[in-house]
């Protein structure tokens, strides 16, 4: 191990601390979305820097070289002068971009919001295998030779056979002393889970409402992914009728017209029946809308579907109501009346971006 590794690890610890401190801001601003790679997010961390007395950046200016006349533009606002890696003559604001794995991010989220770990239901049916270098054996390729073990064996042998001379401690391993690292296959059973996102895309859901849904589902996704291996996501959008779409469409589509929530629930129930036979799957239906439904009839239809089909098969049903200037916001009240006793339905109202953190906690805080 290199000496610098210790310093680098310490630095990363500090970064994690910073992310934790600023997590609420990251969540409500939705800054992290779009910075996401396969399993990593790149997070802008402000100022991990030793403070010193210094001039403001804008005061500085500098000397440059090249063609041009006074008044010519040579750089955009926030830009920092740099070149040849010798910059420093022209100090700029440092925003550090730090790569953090989604798993780590979920851990930070869990710690910060004090989310309980989810206790999965159903049997552990799915298995994944993983190779682990945990064993030692007497044969193997030279690249995997374990030098310390090899020499230890040689020493033992030499001691036992009286060949070892403490005054001239030379240890020469022979063929039999060689030890090699070996891997074992570890089979790990795990639970499988699916999140089914439903969103109202009718005319009353504006861009801001959808942004909130987007941010919230990003974090819910991140958290649930850290809890289950091989989690799946399905997306349903609805206005007066519902259809399943891919992730991209889910966040972009804007329809107009009326709202029939039952249509979404029906589609959801259908997906659950065909693709995710209960007992083996942990199912998380999430529904976001502005709470405006077509009619009281449709609402009672919704409640019927929930009671009979969705709830018995899911871990928990989550309903997030995003406040919009057009919606009546009636639906959440109806749900609360019908499911007051039930622990399987979680409702949460989101008035604006600042509410997102609380809402996430509403949904995930029960450990279901």
């Amino acid at each position: 191990m290199q000496r610098i590794d210790t310093d680098q690890r310490r630095f990363r610890d500090i970064v994690r601390g910073r992310i934790r401190e600023n997590l609420r801001r990251y969540i409500s601003k939705g800054e992290l979305i779009g910075r996401q790679g396969n399993d990593r997010v790149s997070i802008p961390v402000p100022q991990i820097e030793i403070p010193r007395f210094k001039y403001g950046q804008r005061e500085n200016g500098g000397v440059g070289q090249g063609n041009g006349e006074p008044g010519d533009q040579i750089g955009q606002g926030e830009q920092e002068g740099s070149g040849q890696g010798q910059a420093g003559e022209n100090p700029g604001e440092h925003v550090l971009e730090v790569d953090v794995s989604l798993e780590e991010l979920a851990q930070i989220l869990g710690d910060e919001l004090e989310l309980p770990n989810i206790i999965p239901k159903g049997q552990e049916k799915f298995e994944s295998t993983k190779l682990k270098f945990s064993g030692i054996r007497p044969t193997g390729p030279d690249t995997l030779r374990h030098h310390r073990r090899t020499f230890r064996h040689a020493l033992k042998r030499q001691l036992a056979s009286g060949q070892y001379d403490p005054k001239n401690p030379v240890i020469i391993p022979i063929r039999d002393d060689y030890r090699y690292r070996s891997f074992k296959e570890e089979v790990k059973p795990h639970h499988n889970a699916v999140i089914i996102y439903m969103m109202d895309v009718s005319g009353s859901m504006g861009d801001e409402q959808k942004e909130i849904v987007r941010i919230e589902s990003f974090w819910i996704d991140t958290w649930l992914r850290s809890q289950y291996k091989g989690i799946e996501s399905r997306y349903i959008i609805h206005d007066a009728s519902a259809r399943e779409v891919d992730r991209d469409t889910f966040f972009r589509t804007k329809e107009s017209g009326g709202t029939m929530i039952s249509s979404a629930y029906e589609t959801c129930s259908k997906i659950m029946q065909t693709d995710y036979p209960s007992g083996e799957w942990n199912i998380y239906p999430f529904h976001f809308s502005d709470g405006d439904n077509w009619s009281a009839d449709d609402t009672s239809q919704c409640i019927k579907i929930l009671k009979d089909e969705i709830l018995p098969k899911s871990n928990v049903f989550c309903y997030g109501q995003v406040e919009s200037p057009y919606g009546s916001g009636q639906f959440v009240k109806d749900l609360r009346i019908h499911f007051r006793e039930s622990e399987d339905v979680i409702t949460s109202e989101v008035k604006g971006k600042d509410d997102i953190v609380r809402s996430i906690k509403d949904f995930l805080g029960k450990g279901k």
Partner: protein, 491 residues
């Protein structure tokens, strides 16, 4: 750290280049080259060239930054050389042989500069050991007092490590203390019988009175004169525990070690570039290598409109000086000549150029170098300009190409390394043991958030409220941190 062994061919080249360099009159400490891979190079660069430094996260941060930008192909560190005796220089293993030769030639330029430039004369040439010892000391302290406590205190020390007196190694600031006594009464020389007319009793009384008054005044002043080495003042007067004093001493001495490097960035890089360019083109390169050399060389010399490349300005200035002294374009006669044509064609065939630049590398630093040798013709040829930020357009733009403006801007940027000058004004402010600092305002305001955070750190050392007198938008302000909250008062 163990690098890879150098190839036989490379070792031959090192010997060859060493001879060439010595042949030109370069004079250097023995130089040891080590071959490292990019990870080791990045690590060494993060540690500012030294294989062993004390534990601190900021090396890790620098390492992460370097590794990332190396991976993205944004930069590559070609060479690294440290000022010690013997000199250690690192070669990057992924470089081509031609690059290695260039770097070796460049390194001998640096080594000559380290050994001969006057500003390096007092530096610790055994710094490799000293740094390792410092690391061991801090590690021992950390074991006794806890890593977190020590790290926190190192952070605090680093926060003030620019508050040192960059010129103090060369000047005796505090004097011997004898001057004041001599000043008590100044008698004019006179023969005995004339004495009471030339030095009348009243005058002597008056002087004694004035001296007493001054003594009183001095007694109430602490320090006597504003002191620039704030770190030293803290060391001498802050209520620190012993381990804290040790750490502060280490951080301060390491900060001083790097001062000459920062004082001579342009000169040092310019000198090394001048020599690698000279040796490569005159002695080292085969015909077929010259294009590749030119490519690498021009990459190093490139100057972008928004930054200042010390390599480029340095090498061009040395060349300019060499040419001027070869042709005799200096001195009163040349200065006074009013014909532009005559000035341009001025050639006295003196051939003093080489000698002159060797002399320049011995006694100048960046500030005096530019102050003395920057000429209007040079600025125009090099297309130098000043740029600034335009608030309305939110963009950086060219401000001026005027010689004096460019020169002033350059010198301003180099003076005190472009950092605000801060002094200890009063170590017993309001007779309450509080610390008053003074920012010698030179037209540029302090950055308030950084200032505030630095004050907070200063309080951690001083243990009493700390103030700083500064200016913002032409008003005198006093910033105060009393250990709990920050306050800004107008004077």
């Amino acid at each position: 750290m163990k690098g890879r062994p150098l190839s036989e061919e490379l070792r031959t080249w090192i010997r060859k280049i060493e001879d060439i360099a010595a042949g030109y009159g370069l004079d250097f400490f023995p130089t040891i080259f080590e071959m490292v891979n990019y990870e080791q190079m990045n690590m060494l660069a993060s540690y500012e060239g030294f294989p062993i430094r004390y534990r601190h996260w900021r090396w890790g941060m620098e390492y992460e930054r370097l590794s990332k930008s190396y991976a993205w192909g944004l930069h590559k560190i070609y060479e690294l050389v440290i000022n010690t005796d013997p000199c250690y220089a690192y070669l990057l293993s992924s470089n081509s042989d031609l690059d290695h030769k260039l770097v070796i030639a460049h390194v001998y330029g640096h080594c000559d500069f380290f050994k001969n430039n006057a500003w390096f004369a007092h530096t610790d040439r055994k710094m490799l050991d000293t740094m390792a010892n410092n690391a061991a000391k801090i590690a021992r302290i950390a074991e006794r007092h806890g890593h977190e406590k020590v790290e926190a205190f190192v952070d605090v020390c680093l926060s003030v490590d620019n508050l040192i007196d960059y010129h103090s190694p060369y000047i005796n600031r505090r004097g011997s203390g004898e001057e004041d006594q001599l000043l008590e009464v100044q008698k004019l020389p006179a023969r005995n019988y004339m004495d009471r007319y030339i030095n009348p009793q009243e005058e002597i009384e008056r002087q004694k009175e004035a001296f007493k008054k001054r003594q009183e005044e001095l007694k109430s002043r602490f320090p006597l004169e504003p002191e620039k080495d704030v770190m030293l003042f803290m060391l001498e007067h802050a209520p620190l525990e012993k381990w804290q004093q040790q750490i502060l001493t280490i951080v301060r001495s390491e900060a001083y070690y790097f001062v000459p490097q920062r004082m001579t960035k342009i000169m040092n890089e310019g000198w090394a570039s001048y020599w690698h360019s000279t040796m490569m083109t005159q002695d080292i390169c085969e015909d077929h290598e010259i294009i590749d050399f030119a490519c690498t060389h021009s990459g190093t010399m490139a100057m972008s409109p928004t930054s200042f490349n010390p390599y480029k300005v340095g090498i061009e200035l040395y060349r300019d000086i060499e040419e001027r002294w070869n042709k005799g374009q200096f001195g009163l006669e040349y200065e006074r000549c009013e014909s532009m044509v005559e000035k341009q064609n001025w050639n006295r065939d003196l051939g003093l150029g080489r000698e002159k630049i060797f002399q320049v590398r011995k006694v100048y630093n960046d500030v005096t170098f530019l102050d003395e040798f920057l000429t209007p013709e040079f600025c125009e040829r090099q297309k130098l300009f000043t740029f600034g930020y335009d608030r309305r357009k939110d963009s950086w733009e060219i401000k001026s190409k005027d010689f004096q403006t460019v020169k002033d801007q350059m010198l301003g940027q180099l003076t005190n390394f472009g950092q605000p000058a801060i002094y200890v004004e009063d170590g017993n402010y309001k007779n309450r043991g509080e610390l008053m600092l003074w920012h010698k305002h030179d037209g540029k305001d302090l950055k308030p958030d950084y200032g505030q955070a630095t004050l907070e750190n200063l309080v951690k050392i001083w243990k009493r409220p700390v103030h700083i007198r500064t200016q913002a938008e032409d008003k005198t302000l006093i910033w105060t941190y009393d250990g709990e909250s920050f306050e800004e008062a107008k004077e």
